[in-house]
């Protein structure tokens, strides 16, 4: 790992920066002084053995948890203390490790959720009428949602109820929903979890395409093949602390990483 650049400089180029972020639950420190940056336009992987605190880091970024110490900044704005939906509105979208779709609703409706915050109209608008602008907004929302569903490859499943989708399709639907929020940063929590080889292959292509749209990606993944191919930078966590950071090549050869991974295997 190279010597740390001056923070200010790094922030200027980075979309997301974590500075010495710490989170503990009761006595257990789940995330310990973790710092890293995600540069705009890149694909960054967050890896590490189970229980290393990866998902907790995601939850800290998206405001599901609040850090005990440290700073989280997105595009120059401090995220600490903001509720989740505000963070989403700033341009961060995410998927969940255990798929969290609106199970009883159709794929289209799921995708529409992401459009919600950009639309207007509350109770009165709902009850008393569709003014032309509202009708237009609705139509645009549906179009965008259908567009994203097509983008992730769910064109045939627009009207299917989420719970009836296959596992891989559900993962893709989550991505589509995240994309409809028009994020600048997309956070994917084990997007290949439960996917077969073909689906994973397609996912790698999808990640490329998303990136090609100028969306920055931060992902957690156990599938090393995907990580090595899709990411240009990796951050490695173990026991809540960061043990390595760098390109896939650098990380692969980092002795501490090898120890962390092999070490755990030894214990098993």
């Amino acid at each position: 790992m190279k010597a740390a650049e001056p923070t200010v400089e790094r922030e200027q180029r980075s979309l997301l920066t974590l500075g010495e972020v710490t989170k503990s639950f009761g006595g257990l420190t789940a995330v310990d002084k973790v710092s890293f940056a995600v540069e705009a336009g890149s694909v960054v992987g967050l890896i590490g053995p189970n229980g290393a605190g990866k998902t907790t880091v995601f939850n800290l970024i998206t405001g599901h948890y609040q850090p005990n110490h440290g700073d989280i900044r997105f595009a120059g704005q401090r995220l600490n203390g903001l509720p989740t939906h505000r963070i989403i509105m700033l341009g961060i979208a995410r998927t969940f490790q255990n798929i969290r779709l609106f199970q009883q609703l159709s794929a289209l409706e799921n995708a529409l959720a992401g459009c919600h915050y950009r639309m207007r109209g509350g109770i009165l608008a709902g009850m008393f009428g569709f003014l032309p602008y509202q009708r237009r907004a609705e139509q645009e929302a549906v179009e965008r949602s259908v567009g994203e569903l097509e983008f992730v490859g769910l064109n045939q499943k627009v009207a299917t109820v989420a719970k009836n989708l296959s596992y891989g399709d559900q993962r893709r639907l989550e991505i589509a929903r995240a994309l409809t929020t028009q994020p600048r940063l997309l956070i994917l929590d084990e997007p290949a979890g439960g996917m077969n080889e073909q689906e994973t292959e397609a996912l790698i292509g999808l990640i490329e395409q998303i990136r090609a749209r100028g969306i920055t990606i931060l992902l957690i993944e156990h599938d090393m093949r995907l990580v090595m191919r899709a990411c240009e930078k990796l951050v490695v966590l173990e026991h809540g602390g960061k043990i390595a950071e760098g390109s896939p090549e650098q990380v692969r050869n980092d002795p501490r990483v090898i120890e962390a991974y092999l070490g755990t295997e030894d214990e098993v």
Binding site: F25, T55, N59, H64, Y65, F96, Q97, N98, R100
Partner: protein, 301 residues
């Protein structure tokens, strides 16, 4: 000060009953995530069955007070347990895979049904236990009036609760219950017969409720078919107060609710007693959203 302690003991006696009923709520909730609104009515059945058995079998005459009441309690608990199991089979098992609230409505229907069945069998009038069963001794300790029976109620309640706690914590069956409470599917994979666990929970919970009903009948004397509604509600409140699904929580919640009611009535207003209790509950939940001893499960993301 003397009045304060007197009121404290008053509250504990009432709370002991609440706690005993709350255990049934909390056990069922722990395993099934179901609020069994008919539980209060099973409590009432305990009181009515106790009365019928007591008068028809004349147990206390034949076996003496202690032995008679013990045998009576075992019979009542057994019968109410069977009733609880039947209820589970008829009203809840068919709904296990359904939306949670469907089972709640089924429970409410069962409650109405059970209540009105009692009314048709026994008539709507208040039923009264014979008043010569229990020793009417009143202890007078440091100026506090402690009717012996009230002390016994608290003792018996606490004993039963401790027994249940040990049963859940120390025995193999108890472990199975705890496992099913955490994750039914995982428990099933580990070879636990979840149906049997649920049945067991529906035997033990109602049995304790039935015992509480019998105690209320024996001590307070006057019972009627609607009384389970109020007791049930209080016990449910107590279970939530302690953290529903948590067995020590039900004990703490029950006793605490009794004490809050007593002190609220004593020092603020009798007429507002229940409102005060609910206010305290709401305040506690604002500070601790899952009750006093409930696990603080952050929604797993």
């Amino acid at each position: 000060m003397e009045e304060f302690f007197q009121q404290l003991t008053n509250g504990l006696a009432v709370g002991g009953i609440y706690a005993l009923i709350a255990l049934g709520y909390t056990m069922v909730y722990g395993v099934l995530k179901l609020i069994n609104f008919a539980h209060g009515d099973l409590f009432t059945y305990g009181a009515y069955l106790g009365l019928t058995l007591l008068t028809s079998l004349a147990l206390t005459d034949r076996l003496g007070f202690a032995m008679g009441v013990l045998v009576l309690a075992l019979m009542v608990m057994g019968l109410v347990a069977v009733l609880g199991a039947i209820l589970e089979r008829a009203a809840y098992r068919p709904l296990r895979q359904s939306p949670r609230l469907s089972a709640v409505v089924s429970a409410l229907g069962a409650s109405i049904f059970l209540q009105n069945t009692l009314m048709l069998i026994y008539g709507p009038r208040f039923q009264v236990y014979p008043d010569n069963i229990l020793p009417a001794a009143t202890l007078n300790i440091f100026g506090l009036y402690l009717p012996l029976m009230r002390v016994l109620i608290v003792l018996v309640s606490v004993l039963m609760m401790v027994g249940l706690y040990l049963f859940i914590q120390k025995t193999k069956i108890g472990t199975a219950i705890r496992a099913a409470a955490i994750d039914q599917d995982a428990a099933r994979l580990m070879g636990i017969d979840v149906n049997r666990v649920i049945m067991l929970v529906f035997l033990v919970g109602p049995a304790l409720g039935g015992a509480a009903g019998l105690m209320v009948g024996l001590y307070y004397g006057q019972i009627n078919f609607t009384m389970g509604w109020i007791y049930g509600m209080k016990a449910f409140t107590a279970a939530i107060l302690g953290g529903i699904g948590n067995i020590p929580g039900a004990m703490v919640g029950g006793l605490l609710l009794g004490v809050i009611e007593a002190l609220g009535a004593a020092y603020i207003s009798i007429a507002w007693k229940d409102a005060i209790a609910f206010c305290v509950l709401i305040l506690i939940l604002i500070v601790r959203p899952t009750g006093l001893l409930g696990e603080r499960v952050a929604d797993k993301v």
